[in-house]
Amino acid sequence: MVDFLSAYSIQKWLESCPQGYLENTVFGHPPEEKEPELLLSNPVLREETIRATVQLVVGERCALAASSGLINAAPDEGSKRFLATQTLDEARHVEIFSQRLYDLGVRKEDLEGVLSQYANKNLVKFAEVLLEKVDKKDFVAGVVGQNIVLEGMAFSVFEMMHALNQGMNPKFAHTLSGTIADERRHVGFGENRIGSLIKEFPEKKAEVEKLQKDMSYHMLATFADLFRNNRARPEFEKLGAQARERGISAEWHGVELREMQPEDIEKVLSETVLKEFKVRLERIGLAYQTPSRP
């Protein structure tokens, strides 16, 4: 077995992350950057931005609970140290996305209320499926659910949001760049650690494959809820037109997101994430199971 964790160290994490791409940032972005005035002044856009950001906080709270919970389930010292840094990464993500809610005008005392008001029910179920494995100290299933399924989804969602925000909202685009860099380490750990562990515990395959199928269904249902019948559609269309006038594109995976209807964006996102799951799982010797479509 190639011990990939031998090249990993907390020192390298310090040099890459806090002393690297996060240096001179405040809550993940340069201190002088602010949310665009339009997002703050247009009530429909503001509410939809709050709704979208709430899902990020919910997802990251799940990742924080999972990565910290997995530390004591990890069979080796290297994995424990890696998960300790991942725990800090996830806690930071919870903090920066919560801070974004405050920047959008949510009062600190209202945070929990806003989270429960806007949290998507399917995303909550997605988290519950994963945390059940973590509670049972099931390391193999926990890492697949957390570092391959949840992080794989987050990686694509953040990249897509980054493409959409890059020209219009540099503050949020910068916040996302740091999380994308973090996700690279997290998916790398998931693939490499499980790639070797699944060879040791082939009897875990069927259970882990079902976990991916169940989590994928809740993920697709979350995307469906968020993209279909979105009441801010006319506002987003106006924003898209403004971006086009200013020559700002949002290209992602070979498509121009600003030219697309929300349902079509949902389709591209879902297909991209599922394709990534399939490729990743097959690389480590697990069979991808197609989830039912909501």
């Binding site: 077995m1 190639v2 990939f4 964790l5 090249a7 990993y8 390298k12 040099e15 890459s16 002393q19 690297g20 791409y21 860099a181 690279r184 380490r185 998916v187 790398g188 750990f189 693939e191 490499n192 790639g195 070797s196 060879k199 290209e251 992602w252 995976h253 070979g254 490729v279 990743r280 690389r283 480590i284």
Partner: protein
């Protein structure tokens, strides 16, 4: 300073141009400063890779070496900590697979 290219396979690539590549820092800031020039962001499906470059299949970062890469080379992707082996795919292009 360590090139992501690992192991003793340091002779110029067979069939390649055998030249050394001078690597500029492209602003990739996800690894410690002294390693930054060995990686760059991938620009998506339209991005053309140079003979000394290969895409990490795990995290989609381009890994760069100071010499042309060839079949069997082992490279390290520091952003995601993956150890990779370079191979020639059916289309004749260089790809990397993960060594677990």
């Amino acid at each position: 300073m360590r090139d992501p290219l690992e192991g003793g396979n340091t002779a110029p690539a067979e069939g390649g141009d055998g030249r050394r590549y001078v690597l500029e820092d492209t602003g990739f800031d996800e690894v410690p400063k002294k390693y930054r020039r060995f990686y760059r962001k991938w620009k998506g499906p339209g991005d053309t890779l140079a003979p000394n470059e290969v895409l990490c299949p795990v995290c989609k970062v381009v890994i760069r070496s100071t010499r042309a890469l060839r079949d069997g080379d082992r490279v390290y992707c520091m952003p995601c900590m993956s150890r990779l082996v370079v191979f020639t795919n059916d289309a004749g292009a260089l790809e990397a697979r993960v060594a677990y």
